[in-house]
Each structure stands twice: as structure tokens, then as C-alpha cells.
Symmetry: C2
């Protein structure tokens, strides 16, 4: 039986079904990628990454700040925003523009921008990487003479689990 209870399907955002493991892997990968790139994944940056990975729900900067302050009295907005800048820059987290929030990425080694599915009921978000979507975006840009530099795809709705448990 999964931690989600009896018949409910698992979180759509957590493929393994075991989030602790998922988080451990993400942090290990971040260490590994940082070492490979010669980056300094400092205590602070690592801690922010950990706080973000604590759930599959995108986290807001000031919520991170509040959590950081529990253990780090002099944390201030720049403390958090700098860590986020680093983590986003290196692909360890993505920013969800429509929520002003951040979520961990489990494939930082691949240079990409996320496409997200966000459940408006449980708040979880999952990253997609659908080659068809990407192809359609590239083709559209090309047709219009546009040189594509970045793309943002954020889809909202209700996930299977929420639809099932809430009769819709």
C-alpha cells in the first residue's frame, strides 16, 4: 500500500511514489553535477534546494525565507533570491512564472526549460518533456522567422488523483 492511502492513484508528480527517495536522488545529483561543473553548492544553496524538494508543490520565495529563518537568524530576501538565482541558473530548480514559485528539477544535467502540469486542486506540479510539444514550438518559431531562445509552458488543471478523490 502506498503512502497515499488505499485506492488512490499515486501523486502524478512523484513517479517513484516514494518522495524521500526522490529527494535524496535529486540532492545527490545536484552534488554530482555541481562537482562536474566546478560550482559551489554551498550549505545555504543546498539547504534551499532541500527545502524546495521537500514537496512537489512549487514553493514561494518568502515561504523559503520564513523556513530558513528558523535555522538561520539573519536570512533576508537576498539570501533566498541569490540562492534561487543560482539554482535556477544551473537548472536545479525551475521557476513557475504563473505562480511566482519554484520547483525542483530532477534532470539538471540536461539543458532545457521546463514544461509543467500543475494541479490546481492539490497544488502539485510535474515537469513534462514532450518532444511533440517541443517540436511544435520550434516549428512555429521557425515559420515566423523567430530565433527561439527560451520557452515557457505551464498547464493547469486537475490531476487524476484529485479528480478521483473529489468526484470529478
Amino acid at each position: 500500500m502506498s503512502r497515499h492511502g488505499q485506492a488512490a492513484p499515486p501523486s502524478f508528480a512523484c513517479e517513484r511514489g516514494d518522495h524521500a527517495e526522490c529527494m535524496r536522488d535529486a540532492l545527490a545529483k545536484a552534488e554530482q553535477v555541481s562537482a562536474a561543473r566546478g560550482l559551489r553548492l554551498t550549505r545555504l544553496r543546498r539547504r534551499v534546494l532541500e527545502l524546495i524538494w521537500a514537496s512537489h508543490t512549487p514553493v514561494k520565495a518568502y515561504d523559503l525565507l520564513e523556513q530558513l529563518r528558523q535555522e538561520h537568524a539573519n536570512a533576508a530576501p537576498p539570501t533566498v533570491y541569490r540562492a534561487l538565482d543560482f539554482l535556477v541558473q544551473e537548472g536545479f530548480v525551475h521557476r513557475i512564472e504563473s505562480l511566482n514559485a519554484y520547483i525542483g528539477c530532477d534532470i539538471p544535467e540536461r539543458d532545457h526549460q521546463g514544461q509543467f502540469l500543475i494541479c490546481e486542486s492539490c497544488g502539485e506540479a510535474a515537469e513534462l518533456s514532450n518532444p511533440e510539444i517541443e517540436a511544435a514550438l520550434l516549428e512555429t518559431a521557425r515559420t515566423l522567422g523567430f530565433r527561439l531562445e527560451s520557452s515557457l509552458v505551464e498547464l493547469k488543471g486537475r490531476c487524476a488523483r484529485c479528480r478521483q478523490s473529489q468526484s470529478a
Copy 2:
């Protein structure tokens, strides 16, 4: 010769090439759609829509506020945000999430959410409506058991005109 000068291609955001006409049409359509829906397109709302249509560059709320204040001394943030809420709600403008800015929509009669191409060089944005992109998004959601409620696509890069005029 277009208003864009000698050999330059026209603005990718302004299909007609005559923005005055484009803006006139948009306002006329807004009047028409409002009448059909029994909405009150008040002077204030209409004026905000006009200010947004003044360019194909997404406009920020506080820039609109500053402009409004020239002619309307007691304009305040809620003045602008309420007008924007109305205009977005009715589809007369779209919000560009990645820019915290707003841009006019010329097809308010069609219920949809925009897909945008945004030139990072000239700042102009154009709405797309590529059925392939939409199909890929819907299919992805369906596959994952997701009930899609809204979708957001914002593509950034450099438009043909900017690439040409700036040697890249």
C-alpha cells in the same frame, strides 16, 4: 514604403503593417463584443484598453497607471488593476506572465488563452494560435489523466526584423 523604413521587414506583431488601423479595429471589436455580452465597457476600461493597444509591446500595470494619471488625477493602483481584471476576464487583453505585463487581443470573441512569441530585442509580442501546439498540449494532459483548465505558452527569442537589422 512602410513606416518601418526601407528594407526592414514589418513588425512581426502587426500583420497589417498599419498599427493605427489595427488599434481602431480592436477597439471597435471590443465595443461590439461588449454590447453583445451586455458588458459595460466604460470610459475608463476603454481608455485602458486603448493605452494597451497603443503598441504591440506588452504594457505594465504601473506604466498604465502613470499614463492614466496624466488625464485622471485620482487614478490609483486599483483603478488600473480593476480595469485589467475586466479586460483580461473578457478576453480583450492577455496577461504575459513572464513579464507581468498586458497585451491586447484581437480575437476576444474566441474563448482561448494566448500563446505568445515575444521578441527580447524589440519587446514586441504576437499571439499565436497554432493548432499543433494546442493538440500536443491537450494530448499530453489527456495521457496523464489530467483535466486541462488553462494553458500558458510564452516563447522568447529574436524576431526576423531584429535579427536582420542587428546582424544576427
